[in-house]
């Protein structure tokens, strides 16, 4: 009977440990909320496969550069509508060390590859297949755009829905000055 009690106690403790671990590792999508309040917060890191390649790209590898992080999906109409302007702005700000990076959310890879080719996207995109990174940033739909400064911090604004060029430029300027 004592062994049984001990086993039950160990099982309960293990389950509690799992719960604590889960809570500790869940950012709960605070980034979008905090940035919307005007705060500057650490951008969750990631290391995701490139949509049109076999290698991976980590956010940490872009430290020292301003990153425009655009969450998109190939079936998203506003993503298609803003794509031309994002392409133009990526070329405009590239000399200043600003990197545009797309994060393709929950898609079959070939559809995302087709989108990149069709819209002649000049910058890289990574695949967030299960939406885990979108969850960490607090993304609720596509498109959404974040601005990350040279220190890896997300700075306001956080653009929800189709980005206007003036908003993107304001975000880049803010990140460059942060």
């Amino acid at each position: 009977m004592r062994a049984l009690r001990l086993t039950a106690a160990v099982a309960v403790l293990a389950l509690l440990g799992l719960l604590v671990w889960d809570v500790a590792h869940s950012s709960g999508g605070k980034v979008a909320r905090d940035v919307d309040k005007g705060q500057i917060v650490k951008a969750p890191t990631f290391n995701l496969p490139l949509v049109d390649g076999n290698s991976k790209l980590s956010l940490a590898s872009l430290r020292g550069k301003v990153v425009v992080l655009n969450f998109w999906a190939s079936d998203c109409v506003p993503c298609k509508q803003e794509q031309g302007e994002l392409n133009r702005l990526a070329a405009k700000y590239s000399p200043q060390g600003v990197v545009f990076l797309g994060i393709d959310e929950i898609e079959v890879r070939s559809f995302a590859q087709h989108y990149l080719k069709h819209y002649k996207v000049p910058y890289q995109s990574v695949a967030d297949g299960d939406g885990a990174i979108a969850g960490k940033y607090g993304v609720t739909g596509t498109p959404e755009t974040f601005f990350i400064d040279r220190s890896g911090r997300a700075v306001p604004p956080h653009i929800v829905a189709q980005a206007q060029p003036s908003d993107v430029e304001a975000g880049i300027e803010r990140a460059l000055k942060a």
Binding site: M1, A73, V108, R109, A127, D130, A132
Partner: protein
């Protein structure tokens, strides 16, 4: 039990195993679109693929059709949706996989039921072995005499 009966029972077991194994093997090697759509879940709307028209569900259906046409097995198609190149994760699985970490999802309930059965069995055994049956009460002599008299009437 004769040797013949044992042989017959063994043959029945083999036939039963074949009846179960052959369709499973056929389904693994030559999966159908409907079967895979019923097994997989739309990761954005969380309903079976065959009940969803979400964009990602349509992409997955298209991917499955393409891979079936290429002659891939059921496991290959599922692995390519869960892992590389699509990396949609285990959220697309209708049931947990039977290997790796997911195996816990199968083992834990079975282990829990087994532990519960052992606990109930041990409790019942302890309860029944700890209970002493009361000793039969001795008849008092007056009652004993009356019973003897009554029985004597039937002796004829």
């Amino acid at each position: 039990m004769t040797r013949f009966t044992v042989l017959l029972a063994l043959m029945a077991l083999v036939v039963a195993a074949l009846v179960v194994a052959l369709p499973a093997s056929a389904s693994e090697n030559h999966p159908t679109q409907a079967e895979l759509e019923a097994m997989l879940i739309c990761p954005s709307c969380h309903v079976p693929l065959d009940e969803s028209n979400a964009p990602i569900a349509q992409q997955m259906k298209s991917f499955i059709a393409q891979r079936i046409a290429q002659g891939e097995t059921r496991s290959q198609i599922i692995d390519e949706l869960v892992g590389p190149p699509n990396n949609l994760g285990t959220a697309v699985l209708g049931v947990p996989r039977t290997h790796g970490f997911d195996l816990l999802a199968w083992l834990l309930p079975i282990g829990g039921i087994a532990l519960g059965a052992v606990a109930i069995g041990a409790g019942a055994w302890k309860w029944s072995s700890g209970r002493d049956d009361p000793a039969p009460a001795a008849l008092d002599s007056e009652l004993d005499r009356r019973v003897d008299e009554e029985l004597a009437r039937f002796d004829g």
